[in-house]
């Protein structure tokens, strides 16, 4: 199950955004760093303790733009799509005024974010 709180990325339905890791099982040595680098809230990975491989269990829990698991993998066993596609999406919702609205709301709710 996808976490319901993670079902949307701003106004976009998360499932319409193809941003999540894929694992090259040939390269994965099962160290588990990706599993524990991903936050407990998102917890994208499962683990196959028989074959000792990480498994992408909840791809759409993945935070849009985050590839910290890929970056941490010493074996280069994790792939993500081209991040430039995300910039296009970001530009779209910025142009629609969605991000400025969310920003105003966020800093109004949490004044500690104001310098």
């Amino acid at each position: 199950m996808q976490e319901t709180s993670l079902a949307y990325w701003h106004v976009k339905e998360r499932k319409t955004i193809g941003w999540y890791p894929t694992i090259d099982e040939e390269k994965c040595v099962g160290c588990g760093l990706c599993v524990v680098t991903c936050s407990e809230k998102r917890n994208v990975f499962g683990y196959d303790s028989i074959t000792k491989k990480a498994v992408v269990l909840y791809p759409y829990n993945c935070m849009v733009g985050c590839d910290n698991c890929r970056v941490a993998c010493l074996w280069d066993a994790i792939n993500f799509p081209d991040p430039n596609s995300l910039k296009e999406l970001a530009r779209e919702i910025i142009d629609e005024g969605i991000i400025s609205g969310e920003l105003r709301k966020k800093i109004a709710t949490d004044k500690s974010l104001i310098l």
Partner: protein
């Protein structure tokens, strides 16, 4: 308090976004995306500022990847940077401990590759 990164003392390393204010258009995407309060907002100039650099997760470049103006950079290549940290701190015994704890806490994450790929197809 500064969090540890898989047992590694975060304060030993410098890793945080650098904003090019010549390019930044103040859209706010970086502040909204960061889950660690690295950014604050300067209301007078209507721009983000790096307020808590030590909160930035080692190797994370999410804000830079979402920046529509490519105004955010980091000091180093993230993979090269983390590789060095992972090797010099020998983090794998700690990672194994964290993995065991994670799987104990979330037993439905103990799976087989086969059952996951079958469920998807």
């Amino acid at each position: 308090m500064i969090k540890k990164w898989h047992g590694v003392d975060r304060s030993k390393y410098k890793w945080y976004p650098i904003i090019d204010y010549e390019v930044c258009n103040g859209c706010g995407m970086c502040l909204l995306t960061c889950g660690n309060n690295v950014f604050k907002w300067d209301l007078n100039r209507n721009i983000p500022v790096i307020a808590n650099p030590d909160n930035c997760v080692l190797g994370c470049t999410t804000c830079a990847k979402l920046c529509p103006k490519d105004a955010i950079t980091f000091q180093d290549d993230p993979r090269k940077f983390l590789r060095k940290i992972i090797l010099e701190n020998k983090i794998f015994p700690q990672v194994k401990k964290e993995l065991d704890e994670r799987l104990e806490k979330y037993p439905n994450h103990v799976v087989t590759i086969e059952e996951v790929s079958n469920a998807r197809n």
